[in-house]
């Protein structure tokens, strides 16, 4: 009778650390951990020695002290006696402002250019190709400087608007383009204006409710309600009615020439315009390519199948092509928004007071707290971009094709 015996147990040998797959991953990670620890110790040690040599320490106390500098465009109250922290908050708000504005206009430019690039019209197609190629291939910093130069060097000074026969005049009597910035009418909120605003917000909700109801009705019963005109009506009529019923509570404060400069209205400074417009046209060129790729990604068979089912062209676009194209367009669109937010840090080149210019520029130079300022700055941008990518993940999961 033969007996089966276990193979002799292999004793652990040192070479198994490299050659045995069971242990090799542990070896690799141990080496990596060791190297990482060495690097951290080395860099940290250098940092401590350098800081000691320069007589510095890491502290965020400077955020509470007075900033002693002025910011020309602020969304919240701010003066040179405010703290550095408040200057940073002003900068953060300014960053968010220009990013939001640029995202909106870049989307408009991009969608128009992207759709026109697929137009059957040869000339328009080529023109849009030229737009996309020119703007994509020249650095955004140069665009910002070019538009800033247009604003400051080519626009008339406020004094050109003076006199009986002025050299320049205001557009529609309401918009003044000067070398100090653009002056636009400011809304004046009178008594009862909140009612109009509330009605307006409610009517927007109403439009969505109506469209939802119409879709549900269509799916349940097959009855088709008109969409466009009722939506426009619900959107506009209640607000206009409320406006006149309350006795026109919202007025406009037009900019006027007072002394050497314009008074009244809202001043949009030249740096903000330059940054806003340059980011819009530059990123718009990228968005145009995304839109084009998205529309082209929907196979022709889909359009033809929809047409074969008897759908009209508008409905083919709305029900078949767009939902599929948006699935392709939106993820790169969101990362373009992220790019706009990050590129808005170029504000420092034209003197727009965004967070890079306040916290990473003047505050840093005044206090000499380089490490703290740069770390805070990075933390801010990192938070924004993590938020945006979290949102993108949520969208991607929601828009994922439901497959088996």
């Amino acid at each position: 009778m033969t007996t089966l015996t276990d193979p002799p147990k292999e004793s652990f040998k040192l070479s198994m650390l490299l050659n045995d797959t069971r242990y090799r991953s542990l070896t690799m990670q141990a080496i990596a951990a060791l190297l990482l620890a060495l690097a951290i110790v080395y860099l940290g040690n250098n940092l401590i020695q350098n800081l000691r040599a320069a007589g510095l320490n890491i502290s965020y106390g400077f955020l509470g002290s007075a900033s002693n500098y002025d910011i020309n465009q602020t969304l919240i109250e701010y003066s040179s006696r405010s703290t550095h922290l408040r200057a940073a908050v002003v900068g953060i708000l300014n960053t968010l402002l220009v990013a939001l504005l640029a995202c909106a206009t870049a989307t408009v430019f991009g969608v128009i250019a992207g759709v026109l690039r697929l137009s059957p019209n040869w000339l328009v197609r080529k023109l849009m190709a030229v737009y996309v190629e020119i703007f994509r291939n020249i650095p955004v910093l140069i665009w910002i400087i070019i538009i800033f130069t247009v604003m400051t060097a080519s626009m008339p000074a406020p004094s050109a608007f003076r006199g009986e026969d002025p050299a320049s005049s205001m557009l529609f009597g309401a918009f003044a383009f000067t070398n100090r910035g653009v002056y636009v009418p400011a809304p004046v909120w009178g008594a009862g204006s909140m009612v109009v605003v509330a009605v307006f917000v409610l009517s927007i909700i109403g439009v969505f409710a109506y469209r939802r109801y119409a879709t549900k009705l269509l799916y349940d019963t097959g009855k088709l309600l008109p969409m466009f005109w009722p939506s426009v009506g619900i959107f506009l009529l209640p607000a206009i009615l409320a406006f006149f019923i309350m006795g026109s509570p919202i007025g406009l404060d037009y900019p006027e020439l007072k002394g050497f400069n314009f008074g009244g209205g809202i001043k949009i400074g030249a740096p903000l315009i330059a940054l806003w417009f340059a980011l819009s046209i530059y990123t718009g060129a990228f968005i145009a390519e995304n839109v084009r790729a998205g529309i082209q990604a929907v196979s022709k068979g889909q359009t033809e199948a929809a047409a074969a089912l008897g759908l009209r062209p508008g409905r083919v676009m709305n029900l078949v092509v767009l939902p599929q194209a948006l699935r392709v367009i939106i993820p790169p669109l969101i990362s373009q928004y992220l790019n706009i937010t990050k590129n808005s840090s170029l504000a420092i080149a034209v003197g727009y007071a965004d967070v890079t210019a306040t916290l990473g520029g003047i505050t840093l130079n005044q206090t000499g707290r380089a490490i703290e300022c740069v770390l805070l700055l990075m933390l801010f941008y990192l938070t924004i971009s993590l938020l945006i990518s979290a949102f993108m993940n949520v969208y991607n999961n929601a828009a994922k094709l439901k497959e088996r």
């Binding site: 991953s25 690799m28 940092l47 000339l123 023109l127 291939n137 910093l141």
Partner: protein, 432 residues
């Protein structure tokens, strides 16, 4: 029969009629114009609008460009010649072109050195960009970084020679040991290179740069478009291997390595390049050993390389993810180990998929090199905004300078993207 039939028909055609030309409205240029410019009313309006836009742009820029003045010494002299006419003063370009291209400190009698380096760059890049060229030319590509370094910075030739010797020693050791295992070859190669560099560093005599064949130029004298090109080429080529390593690390099964790579990539991608440049200009010096002086150019190269390698890693990760899992499993079943599978099966295919993305990153990075003007390096934008516009001669001449910079960037970036499209068509080996 046939006779009677022949009598009954008056005429029988015996040859085919040649096809008539289509009516003039349905052929040739007229048809093309109808189909492409005026198919419908709305489209016709679009065409007219587009023509109007083109006319607006051309009518305002063409006279300005064509009437330009090319040979004056200052803006005032140029304005005098123009006499109120609106036209370009291109003489700022003829007078300051060397500053725009090389910066204001690079010695003008030494311009041949960066010029030669640029010329050689084309020869070095050619075998990488065009696969049909003989592979032997890659040897020159390998030598190019050392030649270019020596040409641009000058100084003793021993420094690039020692660096080169380190690489050669590393490669020889790697080639010998890699037959046993990739890890041994890789680590052995690094060790050999480090040893050679250490020994070589001691061998270079003190003050060798002072009596060198080529005069030494400090980094702070570099500037102009040359600086943009140098930063772009250096950082892209350095970040490719790092990006590949990061992408592989991110796909790895080892949690620690994966974690390090994910944190690094997401951190770098989450912050704007300008904050990284701030790090280079004000913060990075704190992390180097005291008494060491790492110049700003090198610090900027480090930060931009980190920046672009994170982006390239993401592109390559996309390429890796696009490969079918079967490729990995097939490599396993052939008995290849991890290093072999990656080198022979996975990377060649993944890199091919990622080429368009990598080229996009390279173009974007090259454009982003203009940001160094913010931390007071005098690249082409820094030169325009700094020394040239601040000079009394040329204060106020914006458009000509900005146009020049735009044209330079456009030519380079458009050229690269056209190349990438050509390459994509060339490499498209599947579903035709």
């Amino acid at each position: 029969m046939s006779d009677t039939h022949a009598q009954s028909v008056a005429f029988v055609r015996e040859t085919a009629i040649p096809p008539a030309a289509p009516p003039s409205t349905a052929a040739g240029p007229v048809k093309w114009v109808r189909d492409n410019l005026f198919p419908t009313w709305a489209n016709a309006l679009l065409t007219v609008a587009a023509l109007y836009v083109i006319w607006l742009v051309l009518s305002s820029t063409l006279p300005w460009i064509l009437g330009g003045i090319w040979n004056t010494n200052s803006l005032a002299a140029c304005r005098e010649i123009l006499d109120g006419r609106s036209a370009a003063c291109f003489s700022v370009l003829t007078e300051r072109w060397h500053q725009l291209l090389y910066g204001f400190k690079y010695p003008s009698e030494l311009y041949w050195r960066p010029n030669l380096a640029l010329l050689l760059l084309f020869f070095a890049a050619a075998p990488v960009l065009f696969f049909d060229l003989p592979r032997k030319l890659l040897i020159f590509t390998g030598l190019y970084p050392f030649i270019a370094y020596w040409l641009i910075w000058g100084g003793t030739i021993l420094a690039p020679l020692v660096a080169l010797a380190g690489f050669i020693a590393g490669y020889l050791v790697y080639a010998r040991l890699v037959k046993a295992s990739f890890a041994k070859g890789f680590l052995g190669g690094i060790a050999a290179a480090v040893i050679v560099w250490g020994i070589g560093g001691y061998l270079i005599p003190e003050g060798a740069s002072d009596r060198a064949m080529l005069e030494a130029i400090p980094s702070r004298d570099l500037g102009g478009f040359m600086l943009n090109l140098m930063l772009g080429v250096t950082c892209v080529s350095l970040s490719l291997p790092i990006g590949i390593a990061l992408a592989l690390g991110r796909q790895s099964h080892l949690p620690l390595i994966k974690g390090i790579c994910v944190v690094f990539i997401e951190f770098i991608r989450g912050v704007p390049l300008i904050t990284l440049l701030f790090v280079a200009s004000v913060m990075l010096a704190y992390f180097f050993p005291p008494e060491s002086t790492v110049d700003l150019f090198l610090r900027v190269v480090i930060m931009i390389t980190m920046f672009s390698s994170a982006y390239i890693a993401e592109v390559i990760r996309g390429g890796l993810a696009a490969l079918p899992k079967g490729q990995n499993e097939a490599a396993d079943s052939l008995g290849l180990d991890y290093a072999q599978a990656i080198r022979l099966i996975i990377l060649p295919q993944a890199l091919k998929i990622s080429i368009p993305g990598i080229v996009n990153i390279a173009v974007g990075l090259f454009k982003d090199t203009t940001l160094v003007s913010v931390i007071s390096l005098f690249d082409i934008v820094g030169m325009i905004r700094g020394p040239i516009l601040a000079s009394t001669d040329w204060n106020g001449v914006y458009w000509e300078l900005l146009m020049f910079a735009s044209v330079l960037f456009f030519v380079v970036c458009y050229g690269i993207s056209q190349y990438s499209q050509w390459l994509e068509r060339r490499l498209a080996t599947d579903h035709r």
